[in-house]
Subunit: 209 residues, 2 copies
Amino acid sequence: MSDSPDKSPDGSSTEAVPKAVVSRLSLYLRELQRLQQDSHQTTSSTQLGRLLGLTDAQVRKDLAYFGQFGYPGIGYRCEELIQKIREILGTNREWPVVLVGVGNLGRALLGYRGFGRQGFKVVAAFDSDPEKIQREIEGVPVHPLEQMADMVRRHGIRLAILAVPASEAQGVADQLVASGVVGVLNFAPVTLNLPPEVAKIGVDLAMEL
Amino acid sequence: MSDSPDKSPDGSSTEAVPKAVVSRLSLYLRELQRLQQDSHQTTSSTQLGRLLGLTDAQVRKDLAYFGQFGYPGIGYRCEELIQKIREILGTNREWPVVLVGVGNLGRALLGYRGFGRQGFKVVAAFDSDPEKIQREIEGVPVHPLEQMADMVRRHGIRLAILAVPASEAQGVADQLVASGVVGVLNFAPVTLNLPPEVAKIGVDLAMEL
DNA sequence: GTGTGTGAAAAACTTCACAGCT
DNA sequence: AGCTGTGAAGTTTTTCACACAC
């Protein structure tokens, strides 16, 4: 009955990474990028921890799940660690995403430059209001909702951002999943009912406080 | 050395509520409101759990931290439970908040009705761009940034929403905290460095995926 | 000295399982 | 029958503490 927590010899673990750890990876990445911009060559678990409100041990343990990136006595090389984390998160290549709902919030999101910085690219937007289609907003073409399923399928899109009214969120989400989407970032103030293999992240703007 | 995990006789616990529990409370609230709108008088831990992807035991245990709201054989009365959760979250009274940054995202947030539904009221907005001040947007007056500290202090505002560019976020946050703000909802893609007693919640729109 | 990587201990959180109420 | 509230067991996540490397 001895089963190992288990890491392959070369350091890349086969499985069993706590999801709490994964959720912190993007925080590390962001902080590292800032440190690098401040022309730090290296950093340490203590420094990273302090900046993010975590203990040094936690930072080390988190990173150790994926290999040995640190240099004893030195710390971590920012450049190298950024590269590694990007590999782990898949932020290496650019992930195409679609945005559904071009109301106030949708337009704001199209203008939000943070997505690009993290490796996402909004390739198309959709809306049911005929007034809004056909135009480009912030360089992103806006298509009628009817074309959504088809385009998502044809381009193999995996991620979607939902900025539609609460009443339409579930219906749109169902369509997206049926078309192959595996991750949904939902801004509508409802809990989506989707199969568990779909990563649904709710960002209820009101709830957070 | 017998110390009790500890709940006062009347059910209101003095302390030690896991924060994971608190973070689920608002989910319960939202789901209950939806159930009530679907004209359910009562619900059960099993039903609530299924709707939110939790086990029935967890729902019961979470709620039990705050008292005994359920009726054996019946379940929970939606109306009553909503009321209780509102009390716990302080969503009973209306919390005044200010919004800083009236760009695309800021305007979208002003138009977002979800805040009101959860008991928040945006009472004023601020921006450094003279073009944007003096006007009302969505019924909220927009003032110059210079007046922010003063107004926050004078009205005893405790919560703020930050929708400013990343480069300005830290500076604005510092001012807010100095003026008495104890909770910041930050949309800029940076980690704010604030004293730990300030609840800073980062909503990095990009990171979530 | 500084700082990593990691087993072992501690804490936090979740699930189980059942007594008791309606 | 159905369902809550809760101690106890189980699981996950965090912290401690120390061997080892620069």
